[in-house]
């Protein structure tokens, strides 16, 4: 067995970047205030010192230009990691992501690859209000050509990011702001977590909670609590949303016959629909003993006030209630 260390989610992200930049000189890192400032969330601490300003490349506040510069450098031999300071800012550079990066490999008949990672902190719970708190994975997921990753632990964050950097496609890597300070065990040695594979974070038999990102931890907490009552909750962490591990979804649904889906993004039009439909499209439908419940954010912009904000997002109580409903 390899040695393990306890590090934060934030450190895990940084380690993945640094190790890959040491391994492959074509990997470089670009974004706003990622040098001396170390990024808005302090992720890139020390990277400017180690790699210098060419490879830790600070940009003007021109997301379209630098996102596209990522694309252009990727198709000519580099492997950029582009940091978008908040995931909400995707809206000012969406064209370069969905109409350019996502489509090039297909539209150009496979003659070119776009090996590029877009790293960006997503989610709410920080009091940052409507324009800095969104979970917009759906806006990437639905676009053929992008891969979408949402890690829930330091171990996954490091392994998935390394896999993303080595992947030859544009990968949108949605870090969870609220998890940056969370700690977890990570091996000393090089490892990757393959894209496209879900992970059962807790085995159970009575009901499946299918989730990802910050909601994994919250769901595990609820599972612990319900275990005391003898309710056995299985928690499936999707980890990669696209390509989606549909087998794992169908398997857990067929096993427990009861499903609750949890995501932090808005429930209406959210990814929960796809997950639920994956089940009801398939023969797992026949195993279901109850409606599939989805827990997601309310249909409203994220309000500033902390009490209102908390009301907006899934809570342990809401998850618990949904589980009880399907039992």
């Amino acid at each position: 067995m390899s040695e393990m260390r306890q590090i934060t989610y934030r450190d895990a992200v940084r380690e993945a970047m640094c190790e890959e930049m040491r391994r492959d000189e074509n990997v470089y890192f670009m974004g706003e205030d990622i040098g001396a400032y170390c990024g808005a969330f302090g992720v890139s601490k020390g990277m400017l010192e180690e790699f210098g300003p060419e490879r830790v490349r600070e940009t003007p506040i021109s997301e379209t230009a630098f996102m596209g510069a990522g694309v252009g450098s990727a198709v000519t031999g580099m492997r950029p990691i582009v940091e978008l300071m908040f995931s909400d800012f995707m809206a000012v550079c969406y064209d370069q992501i969905i109409n350019q990066a996502a489509k090039m490999h297909f539209m150009f008949a496979g003659k070119v690859n776009v090996p590029m990672v877009i790293r960006t902190p997503a989610g709410g719970g920080t009091g940052a209000a409507a324009q800095h708190s969104q979970s917009l994975e759906q806006m990437y997921l639905h676009v053929p050509g992008l891969k979408v990753v949402v890690p829930s632990t330091p171990y996954d964050a490091k392994g998935l990011l390394k896999a993303s950097i080595r992947d030859n496609n544009p990968v949108v890597f949605l870090e969870q702001k609220r998890l940056y300070k969370e700690k977890g065990m990570v091996p000393d040695e090089d490892y990757i977590v393959p894209l496209g594979k879900a992970d059962i974070k807790r085995e159970g038999t009575d009901v499946s909670v299918i989730t990802y990102g910050r909601m994994v931890q919250m769901s595990l907490g609820v599972a612990d609590k319900l275990a005391e009552e003898g309710i056995s909750v299985e928690v499936l962490d999707l980890r990669t949303l696209s390509p989606l591990d549909t087998d794992a979804i169908i398997k857990t649904a067929s096993k427990t016959h009861r499903v609750v889906i949890v995501h932090e993004s808005v429930k209406f039009g959210g990814f929960g629909g796809e997950i639920a439909s994956t089940i009801t499209d398939s023969d797992a439908f026949y195993y279901l003993d109850a409606p599939i419940k989805r827990v997601g954010a309310l249909y409203c912009p994220v309000p500033f006030n902390p009490v209102l904000e908390a009301e907006t997002f899934p809570t342990p109580a809401k998850i618990e209630a949904a589980i009880r409903e399907v039992l």
């Binding site: 706003e32 205030d33 040098g35 001396a36 400032y37 170390c38 808005a40 969330f41 302090g42 600070e58 940009t59 003007p60 506040i61 021109s62 997301e63 379209t64 230009a65 909400d88 800012f89 809206a91 000012v92 920080t126 009091g127 940052a128 209000a129 409507a130 324009q131 800095h132 309310l298 249909y299 409203c300 912009p301 309000p303 500033f304 006030n305 902390p306 009490v307 209102l308 009301e311 907006t312």
Partner: protein
């Protein structure tokens, strides 16, 4: 940094009649002091855990918010930035309501739903601050379009933005649109020399941002942004030019932010000396010196202004703290207008 120090001219005013209006001078100083105190207190409350989220202070830049808005009319529209406390207070937002919003109360300007980055006051023409850098430029064009289409006389729409925002496509497109359509937009570029930690010289090759107005074909002005009278005079001139029907204008106001970018700022990208230099030359320090040296006010009178500002802010905190939290009702019912 030298380039910036060069923008700082000797403190003076061209239109000497301004010096006759002592009430006006006093008001400018009280407003700057109010903005300054408001932010320091808000930051203090933040440190105490009483304020949520993030907050961008404009300490050191008080002359830009106050001087600019002093040259605007109440009916003028204004689109503020993430660093907009001074812009909003200058334009006339009620300080109590604004402090209540900072404290996320149900009676705040946004009923607790917006916070520092989204202060609005439609009665005073403040169409909202924006958390998306540069996102306000296009909206300003639209408000100016209303002025134009409805033939409203003597009104402009001011859009504040920073030296960093100047490189956003949204701002650049807006400059061209406003010029092409002769819209009454007042582009107010608060050049505080940094976008977050990034020095202007690292993100543009040509630091003379006025040339962008030249390129798009409209008039520009610049001023020592730490001289509140110079800001006022320059904006007044630009506003006159716009309302005469000449299309948009750009005012570049050179200043410096002595506070950190936001709560997460460790100031690792600049020196203590640099910050100190600008603290010593802050708009309030310089204006005080001028007022006293010119014999317009005594030191004691200026101290009284400070006391007045302090009290306003203290009262606003007391007011805000007494305000109720928003009622947790049906948030989804607030999404659509009827």
């Amino acid at each position: 940094m030298e380039a910036f120090v060069n923008h700082m001219k000797e403190f003076d005013v061209e239109d000497k009649t301004l010096l006759e209006d002592k009430e006006f001078l006093r008001e400018l100083m009280v407003r700057m002091m109010t903005v300054n105190k408001f932010e320091e207190e808000a930051f203090w409350l933040f440190g105490q855990g009483l304020v949520h989220g993030t907050m961008h202070l404009s300490v050191g830049e008080e002359a830009t918010g106050v001087g600019t808005t002093a040259a605007l009319k109440k009916e003028d529209y204004l689109l503020a930035t993430h660093r907009g406390h001074g812009q909003a207070l200058g334009k006339g937002v009620d300080i109590n309501d604004m402090m209540a919003e900072i404290l996320a109360r149900g009676t705040g300007t946004n009923h607790g739903k917006g916070g520092s980055m989204h202060i609005c006051d439609f009665d005073n023409g403040i169409l909202g601050a924006n958390g998306i850098v540069g996102g306000n430029g296009p909206i300003a064009c639209g408000a100016a379009l209303t002025i134009k289409m409805k033939h409203i006389p003597d009104r402009v729409c001011a859009a504040f933005f920073g030296d960093g925002a100047a490189n956003e496509g949204a701002i650049l497109e807006s400059m061209n649109l406003a010029a092409a359509w002769d819209l009454p937009v007042l582009f107010v570029l608060t050049n505080n020399q940094y976008g977050m930690s990034t020095q202007l010289e690292r993100v543009v090759k040509n630091q003379d941002l006025r040339q962008r107005a030249d390129a798009f074909g409209f008039k520009s002005y610049e001023c020592d942004g730490n001289n509140v009278l110079a800001v006022y005079e320059t904006v007044r001139e630009a506003r006159d030019y716009i309302v005469a029907g000449n299309g948009p204008a750009l005012v570049v106001e050179h200043t410096y932010r002595t506070s950190g970018h936001s709560k997460s700022d460790g100031n690792l990208y600049r020196s203590k000396e640099e910050i100190q230099f600008w603290k010593d030359n802050s708009p309030i320090v310089r204006f005080r010196k001028y007022l006293v040296e010119q014999g317009l006010f005594t030191e004691e009178e200026v101290d009284a202004m400070q006391a007045e500002a302090d009290k306003k802010v203290a009262d606003s905190i007391e007011y805000a703290k007494a305000q109720p939290q928003p009622v947790v009702e049906d948030l989804e019912a607030d999404v659509y207008a009827d």
